[in-house]
């Protein structure tokens, strides 16, 4: 195995944060991670969603947003920090972008490129796929 290919399909803050946490430590430890962001997960990366903090959450997500004692960086910041430390790449799904009429400029600046299904499968070929 030469790393992980993560599919982020859910817009839930908890799932995005679990993914960014695991991906960050893996990449910082020099384990390659490619992340394909699709479906509602893409909406969570939009500037407006991030700026207003209007994420889908359950109780843990609420606690993460509100906790004053323990600082958990937002998943977008975790991805950005991890990219500086190791082999981590993020790709936005062209299909979901087209459906929602979005371009890469509509998202926070963490994406390396856009990608379709064939592109993702080619990135995932030698990796363990994790669907979130």
């Amino acid at each position: 195995m030469t790393g992980y290919a993560l599919v982020l399909a859910s817009g839930e803050l908890e799932k995005l944060t679990a993914a960014s946490t695991i991906a960050s430590i893996a990449a910082a430890s020099d384990v390659p991670v490619d992340i394909f962001v699709t479906m509602n997960a893409l909406t969570a990366f939009e500037h407006e969603t991030v700026e207003t903090g209007s994420f889908q959450t359950g109780p843990v997500g609420q606690a993460m947003l509100e906790s004053e004692e323990t600082e958990i960086p937002l998943f977008t910041e975790q991805f950005r920090d991890a990219k500086a430390l190791g082999p981590l790449s993020l790709y936005a799904c062209t299909m979901a972008m087209d459906l929602m009429g979005r371009t890469l400029d509509d998202y926070v600046d963490v994406f390396d490129d856009t990608l379709g299904v064939a592109g993702f499968l080619s990135h995932a070929e030698d990796k363990q796929v994790v669907f979130i």
Binding site: S24, I25, A28, S29, T70, E71, I72, P73, Q78, D81
Partner: protein
């Protein structure tokens, strides 16, 4: 107090997982071999998770000291 004198200190107090470990990894990458790093953390998970990472990454765990309201984890880059 610990018998280890750190060359650099990483203050990650107040940060939740994965903050302290990320801060440590970031520091380990920039320092020379043999450097002793003190990681200060209030995240109780760090006590188990940092040693786990150190073993995998091949760096040396020198000591974990309970400072009362935080922990000091002493690490030597190999």
């Amino acid at each position: 107090m610990s018998e280890h004198t750190p060359d650099v200190t990483v203050d990650a107090r107040g940060a939740g997982c994965p903050g302290p470990l990320m801060d440590l990894i970031g520091k380990v990458k920039t320092v020379d071999e043999g450097t002793v790093i003190e990681l200060q953390t209030t995240d109780s998970g760090s006590k188990d998770d940092v040693p786990e990472w150190l073993e995998k990454a091949g760096h040396e765990l020198l000591d974990i000291v309970d400072q009362g309201d935080y922990w000091s984890i002493y690490v030597r880059k190999t």
